[in-house]
Amino acid sequence: MRTFLGKAAALSGVFAVGPAFAQDEGYERDPAAGWDHLWHEIIVDITVIGVIFSLAAIYMVWKYRAKNENEVGKGPKLTPAAALAWALIPASIFMADDFFLSAKGWTLWNDYRRIPDEAKEIRVTAYQWYWEFDYGDEIVSEELVVPKGQPIVLRMTSEDVLHSLYIPEFRVKEDVMPGRVTYVWFNPKETGEYVHTCTEYCGTAHAEMYTTVRVLEQDEYDEWFNQIKEEANANSLPNNTQS
């Protein structure tokens, strides 16, 4: 009995310390980097717990095979005090890990929700089954184009059913729904083309409701923006005269 308690206490000690394997590193208010950091920490945490319990299970299933047909188990009959200890001590260890992760998760969550003052706002409207990005001044595009190094906040709503804006590379996702405006923000650090897709089931073409996010250097972005502005003006004139 006592050795069992001792062994188990030693084991539970190990996995309480598990999370500490991953070290704290500061990150500038960048939820994507924060996500990767916390993700690795949790993977270590759950792997440590999983390996300890798996090894314990394998060991016991092997060690306690019945030697003969009539053998019975000799599992301990706990005294009330031992029973209480065997409930409270593991519960405290689990809770310690829970609160540790909660604190980490809450910190990162605050980064996700606190929009930087300098963020540029783009309005997003989702339709079955395409996206519309509104840069203001009636400049609208069907793909998202942003300048590098500029925090972007997307204010999103839907014209029909639920959708969800997901840019895996930036680790952001939030549902888009009719009648409410939701937001995500991200900081595009590298130029390039990234996938942006819908992750809330929205019917037939749900899987085809994807576009590209293009992150451009500031001057390229300005060039793109002027071009699309000219196109918008050119398109709007004949329409006006017709009507």
């Binding site: 924060g34 829970d98 809450w106 059913v161 969800s164 899987a207």
Partner: protein, 547 residues
């Protein structure tokens, strides 16, 4: 089957026959929904159209697979079949408290199964996933009413079952059985039925509102007329998260029955397992539903509060895990096919439960939600842990039900194909899910790099299909032609083995048992004293292990 036999089964009020009918009904749902899973995997095995070029068809498979597996296989299998057949036997009762209501429950269940299967032949089958989120479920051409009415029937059936079994456990325990002498399976089933009773009305009202919005022009979920689309998601998950425990808890209970018998051991820290674990889960289950809505646009503070409550689920689950591992300590383990499934569940609960921890963190779920990481996580808990516990339970109680063994080389072959197959299917989905592969996609043109992973997953799905075919055929053959089993072949101490014969007749016990305070369903340490603590000595051969 003669007309006489048909009538005997159709109009039966015997809890064991009703149990067997639940088993047949839920396994039917499992087979059909499993075929849908194969179609889904085939479609995903290649970029572009594979077996259908119509995404709507794919969406209908997804709908049927999800709705049928959860609502018509897992819940009725665990609370319908296992509770019906074994719970009255375990508590020494001759039947349930309200046998006719029990018969009515199974009729409602079969009504729901027939309605669900009819959805294959109507022109516009439901295509709204098992969640049925508005506004899509209201604006779609698909027949949302089928979904709603199927849920109504299943809900009525479950609520009637819940009342029935709670009354049975409270009033019909054999004289002398105190609360701390109940089998863990009895406790977990009681807890599951408490959850059903409390939470089903919420789901029923949510889907009824959906029906009114779509067909009668009300505006509960229509923001243009003052409604709110998030309301439905809150109501749906307020039931459907506890529904996970309606599945998880009885599965854990089955495992405890298998482990204690095959380990010939008492439950380690019984009271912590029951009052901390089982009831801890019941207590916390109504406060965590927002973790299904982490990216749905809920208030920020609520997403934090329920992150903490969600992580705290690890405490009651942890207590049950400690008891389960503790039951192996200093055990005298013997093996059968049921035990193989039970041992595999030790690892499935770890991989399924621990991958829930990143998903409990709001900020981490921002990236993972609605990806195949989530999909793999809940398949590990529901499709693998819970279903494997069920399959283990079927093998373990097979001699009780049919008087024959189902163990043997076919059973082992099925087990190996199943356990390897599920891992080959779902490990690739964990990997690509963490890299952003979304769920519920007919195609994935934006992620061509994931194609090989999908192919491995499809291969795994077909291994499971082979494994389950062997398993189910083996059950059917062994039910009629298997090797005849003696009374109490696993030498259990539980009443259903020691005091009821194999294939019990109506009334269950030749001599209804009475027990003293010293009796325990897990009294292996001194088996003879334990049997003397009952008024009836039980079966010859039950008193002590066969010489």
């Amino acid at each position: 089957m003669s007309m006489q036999t048909f009538k005997e089964w159709f109009f039966t009020t015997d809890h064991k026959r009703i149990g067997i009918m639940y088993l047949i009904g839920s396994m039917t749902a499992f087979v059909v929904a499993g075929m849908m899973a194969l179609l889904i995997r085939l479609e995903q095995s290649q970029l572009g159209p594979t077996i259908t070029d119509n995404p709507n068809e794919y969406n209908q498979w997804l709908y049927f697979h999800g709705a049928a597996m959860v609502l018509a296989f897992l819940i009725p299998g665990l609370t319908g079949f296992f509770a019906n057949y074994f719970l009255p036997l375990m508590i020494g009762a001759q039947d349930v408290a309200f046998p006719r209501i029990n018969a009515f429950s199974i009729w409602l269940f079969y009504g729901a199964i027939i309605l669900a299967l009819l959805s294959f032949v109507i022109p516009d089958p439901p295509d709204i996933m098992w969640t049925g989120y508005p506004p899509y479920s209201i604006t779609t051409m698909g027949n949302t009413a089928y979904y709603v009415f199927t849920l109504h029937l299943l809900g009525f059936s479950s609520v009637l079952g819940a009342v029935n079994f709670l009354v049975t456990v409270i009033y019909m325990r054999a004289p002398g059985i105190g609360w701390n002498q109940l089998n863990i399976f009895t406790w977990t089933t009681v807890a599951a039925f408490v959850l059903q009773l409390v939470f089903i009305p919420v789901l029923a009202s949510a889907v009824t509102m959906l029906l009114f919005d779509k067909y009668l022009g009300t505006n509960f979920f229509n923001p243009e007329a003052g409604g709110d689309v998030l309301l439905y998601q809150n109501l749906f998950w307020f039931y459907s998260h506890p529904a996970v425990y309606v599945i998880f808890l009885p599965a854990v209970g089955i495992l405890f029955e298998i482990f204690t018998t095959m380990c010939k051991n008492r439950v380690f820290n019984y009271k912590a397992c029951v009052y901390g674990g089982v009831w801890g889960i019941v207590g916390i289950s109504g406060f965590v539903w927002v973790h299904h809505l982490y990216v749905s646009g809920m208030p920020d503070w609520l997403r934090i509060g329920q992150m903490v409550t969600t992580l705290l689920i690890s405490v009651p689950v942890g207590l049950m895990v400690m008891s389960m591992w503790g039951t192996l300590y200093k055990a005298a383990i013997t093996f059968n096919t049921g035990m193989l499934y039970a041992i595999s569940c030790l690892f499935l609960v770890l991989s399924g439960g621990l991958t829930g921890i990143p998903l409990a963190l709001t900020a981490i779920t921002v990236h993972l939600s609605e990806t195949s990481f989530v999909h793999a996580h809940f398949h590990f808990i529901m499709a693998m842990f819970s279903a494997f516990a069920m399959f283990g339970g079927i093998y373990y109680w097979f001699p009780k039900m049919f008087g024959r063994y189902a163990d043997g080389k076919w059973a082992t072959t099925g087990f190996i194909l199943n356990i390897v197959g599920v891992h080959v299917t779902f490990i690739p989905l964990f990997i690509i899910g963490a890299q952003g592969m979304p769920r519920r996609y007919w195609d994935y043109q934006m992620f061509p790099q994931f194609e090989p992973y999908h192919q491995v997953a499809t291969l795994g799905a077909f291994m499971v299909a082979a494994g389950m075919s062997v398993t189910i055929l083996n059950w059917i053959v062994c039910a009629f032609k298997g090797k005849v089993a003696p009374e109490n072949p696993w030498k259990s101490c539980s009443l259903e083995w020691t005091h009821a014969p194999n294939c019990p007749q109506a009334g269950n016990f030749p001599n209804p048992p009475t027990v003293t305070a010293d009796w325990s369903p897990y009294g292996y340490a001194d088996r003879e004293a334990n049997l003397k603590a009952t008024t009836d000595p039980g079966f010859p051969g039950a008193a002590k292990p066969a010489e």
